[in-house]
Symmetry: D2
Subunit: 151 residues, 4 copies
């Protein structure tokens, strides 16, 4: 699966939200949060989201599978600042037999700051070979979080 | 400008290459380089590239402008490992009046590991307001590094 | 001021505690949290601690001063793991006219994992020149958190 | 072994030097390199140093041992800036039967910016249990790089 959806910028399209506070170490000399750190926030949100739906990442890894990142996309609207009370929305937006697409939306006091998509392939932790997506992932899919972009 | 090109996976489409060695600190518990670090390598390559064409980033910032990241995309083909001798290819693939798209390709001993695009808007360092792209950026554009994806 | 105390490994010597969950991105290929990240946790704890005593870091910076790090020390007892529920204890352990020493203790379910000290000089945000320590810092000092090491 | 030496600030006390260029991502909102990143530079220098003496870190790990970090100390003299041409000096300053102390010195155009010590225990990669220090480490020790601090 290739990245083929755009993340919704409407919080109500997402079923999960957690609070993140960007660290001072994550700022850069422009005085804002460095752009690479958004992928860390997305991952942190993904971990909290999976915990909330009853499949903590540590349990997934104990099952012998990993959700390897195949593609990642971030859209930066307005910079995050140190210590901003970030609401990070997370959803599983699409899934195939061996991969899934997660959507992310970061807002501060209701204002959209960034959004993104990560595409994951399910792989065997030992061999790295593709594995079938667990059934419970399919049940999490909320298509509204990721729309097909108009050409 | 929105991200609208795909990075070439052919090294000869790029006019610049530098060597990067992923740090041990950049590995993760899967034993590979964590996916967020690729954006750091792209940035490091961008800095080396701008230095090589006579416009070091420190000089650009002294001119009162920043190349703010608007969008970023990474495609992960095969994981980078600690201490891999990474050849990172960098090119300016497209430009408009106020923004540019940079393309990146990471190979190890000729094997494609990852590629990506970053979209930058030129902004005033003080006010953050959009500014016109310097003329020298237009002269750097090598369209072969970024093709328009087929629908 | 030079670092001249050792951090207490007794949680009850500290007046503040916050919860930190190490991110997956912060693990390394040894399968544990990379040692450099402990300084990030200490900083995050420092920020939460200062907020809790009524002097949020953003307000301190708005006052035109920074707590520049002069020295840092970390003792690693047992590795932190991804997603560990870390209790991070923080205290101001010593202060002089222009500098302070903060002590840190990281435990997981009561077991000591790491401890450390950071030494800070108060500097002017603009000029970087030394400034006097604000009075409120002196009132926070809890000497039990940092003992003088035996020779 | 506990950290019991202070790093020399004299480059000629070190037998190895490599060049490091701090990344833009490693700056913070104070406009300088964030203090946690110095541990990354030390590690990068350690890796280059071990390669230069014929024991690349990947080979050491293939031998089934790791140099686990037990303690770390950094002294920050003058801030590193983005893209500074940093000369990082590295030496093995002390060793016992199961541990070693490495010393580091970072200069820019001859000016001391920072120095530090890391203490490492040799452990089995699989079990994490202490192992004997390889003989070749003892032959690397250059005591001048780490002096015993006066009380």
């Amino acid at each position: 699966m290739r990245l083929d959806i755009a993340p919704s910028t409407n919080p109500s399209d997402y079923g999960f939200c957690c609070r993140i506070r960007p660290r001072f170490a994550e700022t850069d000399a422009m005085g804002i949060i460095h752009h690479a750190n958004y992928l860390l926030y997305f991952e942190q949100g993904r971990v909290e989201y999976l915990r909330s739906v009853g499949f903590p990442y540590t349990a997934i890894r104990d099952d012998g599978i990993d959700f390897a990142v195949i593609e990642a996309f971030v859209s930066y609207r307005r910079p995050l600042q140190f210590d901003d009370p970030v609401d990070l929305y997370v959803a599983t937006a699409a899934a195939t037999r061996t991969s899934l697409q997660m959507a992310y939306l970061a807002t501060v006091e209701g204002e959209v700051r960034a959004s993104g998509i990560t595409v994951h392939g399910v792989v065997d932790s030992e061999t790295g070979r593709p594995r079938r997506l667990p059934d419970w992932v399919h049940r999490l899919v909320t298509p509204a979080a990721g729309s097909i972009p108009s050409p």
